[in-house]
Symmetry: C2
Subunit: 268 residues, 2 copies
């Protein structure tokens, strides 16, 4: 089992790479190859668009790689997602791709093209409190599809997708938007004001393509900055309210979020 790590968004912290390499070595059930591009830096990004795309396309085309694990989020994978999903090498179809947050742009683009993708912990999550558990949960799933890693509300016969809410909002209507018809849609977000969550839910639930989902479940919406004055509604009631207005079934909670407890959601 060979797992390749690339960074389509921001630069991976070397201490995170070291910690995860040590975890993989002590497990002894996989080989982890961290692409040097993960440590590139070009302004906000882990290297130029070209460098990030090249690294991603490299590992996608490599027959020896079984899984592509995104190093971390931040911002930037949308800038290369459409190109990354074009003229797919045959080798890409036998791999699984894992990440979340900004990597959601790639999950969307790849899922749309029929690749196997999942929303779940990334390499840099190791630096969170309890991050080792998040990394082992991701590895258990990448290496042996351990069902204990999965988001517990998933059911085998129901399609599911998971996205950062803000990322989801920004891919609606673009060339990388997947078909949401009949999907159970799990959302989470971090560090957005309540008025922004409200505005984003207005946008997302106002889209005809999203209105075709089977329902929405809400994960953790965390690190919400203070609103002045107090917004008046909490994140969950905001989500419920917009689901109700749009006629989208609200299906309860999801065990995903920007934290170490984040569980795996394979798209299918």
């Amino acid at each position: 089992m060979k797992i390749a790590v690339v960074a389509p968004s921001c630069t991976l912290r070397p201490e995170a790479a070291e910690a995860v390499s040590a975890i993989v070595a002590s497990r002894g059930d996989a080989e982890l190859v961290i692409h040097p591009q993960c440590f590139f830096s070009d302004g906000h990004f882990a290297g130029s668009d070209e460098a990030r795309l090249d690294a991603l396309r490299d590992v996608m085309a490599d027959d020896r790689v079984d899984a592509v694990w995104f190093a971390r989020g931040g911002y930037g994978s949308n800038r290369i997602a459409e190109a990354a999903a074009r003229d797919l090498p045959a080798a890409a179809r036998s791999k699984i791709f894992l990440g979340y947050s900004d990597a959601g742009f790639l999950l969307a683009a790849f899922h749309k093209e029929g690749l196997k993708v999942a929303h779940g912990p990334m390499v840099q999550d190791v630096v969170r409190d309890g991050g080792e558990a998040a990394v082992n949960r991701a590895l258990d799933w990448l290496i042996r599809r351990d069902e204990a890693s999965l988001e517990p509300g998933l059911t085998k016969n129901r399609r599911a997708m998971a996205f950062n809410l803000t990322v989801l909002s920004h891919l609606i209507g673009t060339a990388i938007e997947p078909d949401f018809t009949g999907t159970e849609l799990l959302i989470e977000d971090v560090a957005e004001h309540e008025y922004r969550i409200d505005r984003t839910m207005f946008h997302v639930t106002g889209s005809e393509s999203i209105r075709r989902v089977a329902g929405i479940r809400v994960g953790r919406i965390s690190e919400i900055p203070d609103n002045d004055p107090a917004f008046g509604h909490d994140a969950e009631s905001i989500v419920r309210n917009w689901c109700e207005r749009a006629g989208i079934p609200f299906l309860g909670h999801a065990d995903i979020g920007h934290d170490a407890a984040n569980r795996v959601v394979p798209f299918n």
Copy 2:
């Protein structure tokens, strides 16, 4: 000439209402009626959705009102925009509606339904440095369609619309999205990180409906918070870059923004 002020988003500051009332009184060429709803407060908003919608519908249906001037932005007009544009009273069709920023949701919804709308200074702009000039510019245009108030790059035979970029991004794909075909699209933004501007431009220019515009002009993108590390591209090059990627003509600058110099852009 009777101008009604309502607040579909956040609460109007009383000192702004007083200052603008004094300006209108000293001009002597119009009557300004500030709806009491402008001073309501309900969490983030100038009253509940119902209260804001009722006030707006009141002045829309009032035959004696010639112009509806939005008090200020903030956030919240999207929550009532679709309802406000439904079953329009006949009296709404003879009025002009003026505002910008969050009020862009109403400009979009009303323009889509054939009402006369314009992007331009609002009542609370009076508290800005040089705000009296902004208010007089708005009044000159509301009262006597003074062409000196207009954004100087507009041409008579070219359709134009103007939006806050973030607001524009959030109305794409919703029921209040207007038809952008052949329109010169002017954009501005305030207090958004460069990575957010980049992500929003990805979204906006990735939309098929926006790709039908005649071109994009960029107004002021101001109060950009620091990015750590430095993003690597300034706001104008971000806009140019995404226009280029999407095949949308970049038509240069626009004299609009979240500031006292903000000029009027009638949609047509």
